[in-house]
């Protein structure tokens, strides 16, 4: 069986003013359909770059990103991105923001009524249907991120890419949104890749956690499977042996073997 998404010996380097800095080196990873994979690492390890490569927003220097055996060389709606700072267009309402995506992706295949129903279904999925006529400035940070997720899901992506989606939120809102994402993952079975620097979040949500070594020339240090049954409940997991063991493994990787040395930057 061939992998759904395959990262095949990816190198990425940036050239700036004659100086070439190697960011990622020899990234090899396969992800199955429906899997939830987190990528964790210290800041500056190139995990956002890796996500941009999968999204097609940045081109690989060598190697290839293969989605269903087809090479990814440009961005597209089948690899929707949830951005860290939501990136909703402030002059459009919640509904119009999602409509922009839906009318572009389904403008030819769905009728106007079908598109409306599809927008409302995605708003319902993130429990934001009540705010459809509000502008982004009128809703809270957590709500904006929910709309950001709805917009990405409305593109009906093959893979949903989440770039530190909860990084800018307070702890309580963050927990609510993590639950919402788990729920969506369970209901839709969308393949998801999430960048995070939060160990608990990674263990709670993921089937596998990809741990990155420190840059420059960062690569995948270790891949940890999280053998926890779904649905997962955070309160029960707080004292669960497997959860704690996974958490410890990630913490040991990040803080013992690959400690972040600030001075090296």
């Amino acid at each position: 069986m061939t992998a759904y998404l395959k990262l095949d010996h990816i190198d990425k380097s940036f050239a700036r003013g004659g100086q070439v800095s190697e960011v990622l080196k020899d990234i090899r990873l396969t992800i199955d359909r429906g899997e939830f994979v987190s990528i964790i690492g210290h800041s500056g390890c190139g995990k956002s770059t890796l996500l941009n490569l999968i999204a097609g927003l940045t081109r690989v220097s060598s190697g290839a990103v293969l989605l269903e055996d087809k090479e990814v060389d440009s961005p597209g709606p089948e690899r929707a991105v949830v951005f860290q700072n939501h990136s909703l267009l402030p002059w459009l309402t919640v509904y119009e923001n999602i409509n922009l995506a839906v009318s572009k992706v389904f403008g030819r295949t769905k009728s106007r009524a079908e598109r409306h129903e599809w927008i409302m279904r995605n708003l319902d999925l993130v429990q934001m249907a009540h705010a459809r006529d509000k502008r982004p400035a009128e809703i809270s940070g957590g709500m904006k991120q929910r709309v950001g997720i709805a917009r990405a899901l409305a593109m009906q992506p093959k893979i949903l890419l989440l770039d530190e989606p909860f990084g800018a939120l307070d702890a309580l809102t963050r927990a609510h949104l993590q639950d919402a994402v788990m729920d969506i993952h369970a209901r839709l079975g969308t393949t998801m890749i999430m960048i995070t620097h939060d160990v608990d979040e990674a263990v709670l949500l993921s089937d596998r956690i990809v741990m990155m070594t420190n840059g420059p020339a960062a690569t995948i240090g270790e891949v940890l499977s999280v053998p926890l049954a779904r649905p997962r409940r955070r309160i029960e997991l707080a004292s669960d042996r497997t959860f704690l063991r996974c958490r410890e493994a990630v913490l040991k990787f990040l803080y013992e073997r690959h400690r972040f040395v600030e001075a090296a930057e």
Binding site: A55, L57, S74, P75, G76, P77, R79, A80, V81, F83, N85, S87, L89, P90, W91, L100, A101, K104, V105, R135, P136, A137, M155
Partner: protein, 296 residues
């Protein structure tokens, strides 16, 4: 039972009183609102009115001596009364009210500035979007924008061989630079995230321009348009003085040639008020279009 009914009537009787009280407070509130509005109007209108009256008094005193070279306000009022009181009279080709002349000038501004707005936004988008277009065009723009409006006039008269298109061209060339430069800055400042959203959705150039670029850069574009319309109003008066016709600019030149100084002063007031209104109009349009876009 009887006690209960008594209680019931009591209970019913109570809500009536508060209802009356509410009616009174509503009236009182309305009166306070009127007072507040009147107060706001007074704070906005009284200071400028006082200053204008003071200026008129100083002017009257300074120009009252028989040897004064300029007419005092009382003389302006007396000699140019028909211009002030009847802005819309029409007594034949060269004898029309000042409002008509302003409208003719405004029509020229509308055409010239309209073209400048369209071309300016398009060029600004190009310069803001493409690094090479900026490197090539920006120095040219920076030099050309410093050329005074009237310096273009002889050249455009030579090119168009007619005064009306020449005047339009002068307005166009005067007002286009701030539109181009501000649009370019606005486009350059579009957040990278909006561009990424557009790339993921695979918006084509036209969709990106209409759906992302123009709304995102709208605050900058309107700043440019506001500066541009001010400049074009400056240019039209000067251009009309030289090209002739029936605009407000030519009226001033004509009045000067026939030594009607009071008419010139009235025309200046018309020009000033019209320019002020144009500026506020574009500002209001900008505020309306960009509502909600500035807040993140």
């Amino acid at each position: 039972m009887s006690i209960q009914t008594v209680e019931d009537t009591k209970v019913k009787a109570f809500p009536v009183k508060p209802a009356e009280v509410i009616a009174f407070t509503a009236k009182a509130r309305r009166r306070i609102d009127l007072l507040a509005i009147a107060g706001k109007l007074a704070t906005a209108l009284v200071p400028p009115a006082v200053v204008i009256i003071l200026l008129l008094v100083v002017w009257q005193v300074a120009c009252s001596s028989p040897t004064a070279s300029l007419p005092p306000p009382s003389q302006v009022w007396n000699e140019a009364y028909d211009l002030i009181a009847h802005p819309f009279f029409d007594n034949g080709p060269q004898d029309i009210g000042l409002a008509w002349r302003v409208l003719i000038s405004l029509q020229r501004v509308a055409i010239g500035f309209g073209m400048a707005a369209v071309v300016g936004v398009a060029l600004g988008a190009l310069v803001g979007q493409s690094v090479w277009a900026m490197r090539g065009l920006d120095p040219v723009f920076q030099i050309l924008r410093t050329v005074p409006p009237l310096a273009w006039l002889p050249l455009s008269l030579a090119a168009f061989r007619d005064s009306n298109p020449s005047a339009l061209f002068v307005i166009f060339i005067t007002s286009i630079w701030p539109v181009i430069i501000n649009t370019a800055v606005g486009v350059r400042n579009i957040p990278e995230d909006y561009r990424n959203v557009a790339r993921i959705l695979r918006l084509n150039q036209l969709e990106f321009f209409v759906k992302i670029m123009v709304p995102a850069a709208a605050p900058y574009i309107f700043t440019g348009l506001r500066i541009g319309i001010g400049l074009s109003w400056l240019a039209i008066v000067a251009a009309e003085m030289l090209t002739g016709g029936v605009g407000i600019g030519f009226f001033i030149w004509d009045a000067w040639n026939s030594s009607r100084l009071p008419d010139i002063i009235v025309a200046l007031a018309y020009i000033g008020v019209t320019g002020f209104c144009l500026d506020r109009l574009v500002a209001a349009a900008g505020a309306f279009v960009t509502r909600g876009t500035t807040a993140k």
